[in-house]
């Protein structure tokens, strides 16, 4: 499991509007270094070189969905234990429990509040990882 300060976030999201808002929210508001990938396949190609502290994944994407992407990312040795957070509109307790069983440390509900997204992620990081 990772430890220390959260700095680099790999964000996987297929919707360009949400990518744009999230980039502003994470980079400008939160001060994080962010790489955004539009698909699971793109994330698999970019993740190892970027070496993120945190994987942030949309659940519902065409093609490879978020949970499948996480499973595939976990096969990359350097990412096997990276903390992951899912983002989804489906946040019923049983759904959140399923995502955590898949290895996510938490779930952020969509739609998210752009001005609070970074603080929300930092809180989850601090509660689960430390730093």
């Amino acid at each position: 499991m990772a430890d220390g300060t959260l700095s680099k976030i790999l964000y996987v999201e297929d919707e360009p509007d949400i990518q744009e808002v999230a980039r502003m929210a994470l980079e400008l508001v939160g001060g994080f270094t962010v790489t955004i990938c539009s698909s699971g396949e793109e994330a698999l190609a970019a993740a190892a070189d970027f070496d993120p502290d945190l994987l942030l994944l949309d659940v519902m994407m065409p093609g490879m969905d978020g949970p499948t992407t996480l499973l595939e990312l976990r096969k990359i040795a350097s990412l096997a234990n990276k903390p992951a957070i899912f983002m989804t509109a489906k946040v019923q307790p049983h759904e959140v429990a399923e995502y955590k069983e898949l290895g996510a440390i938490d779930v952020i509900p969509k739609p998210f509040d752009p001005m609070n997204l970074s603080a929300n992620i930092q809180e989850i990081w601090s509660a689960n990882i430390g730093g």
Partner: protein, 114 residues
């Protein structure tokens, strides 16, 4: 420019893009109506509406997002394979899509967005 101003500009661009996006959704729906057992067409419509629901919600257009999610809820059992997609399901999307189109004409942003 404050971060919130920049975010609002993105939201305004989203509103400007809505007519074209609704045209895409309408086209996807019409295609599905003509071939209501075609799962590829169903997935195409679902993802287009899903993206609209997510974007509009993120930009604070709650009513629009909720209406879009109503359509997702209609399609979801078929998307999950729990039921077979049929004319009845496809036809029930039509009125909801009409409501969504009305809201798209003048989408209302919640006051406390940002």
């Amino acid at each position: 420019m404050a971060d919130s101003d920049a975010l609002q500009l993105i939201a305004e661009e989203f509103v400007r893009s809505l007519p074209e996006r609704m045209d895409d959704v309408d086209a996807a729906y019409l295609a599905l109506k003509q071939d209501s057992s075609n799962s590829d067409l169903m997935n195409d419509l679902y993802h287009k509406v899903h993206n609209l629901a997510g974007s509009s919600g993120t930009f604070g257009f709650r009513q629009f997002s909720d209406l879009a999610r109503t359509i997702l809820n209609i399609l979801e059992p078929a998307i999950k394979g729990e039921v077979q997609l049929d004319d009845q399901i496809v036809n029930s999307v039509g009125p909801q899509l009409a409501e969504l189109a009305k809201e798209a004409a003048t989408p209302v942003q919640i006051e406390d967005w940002l």
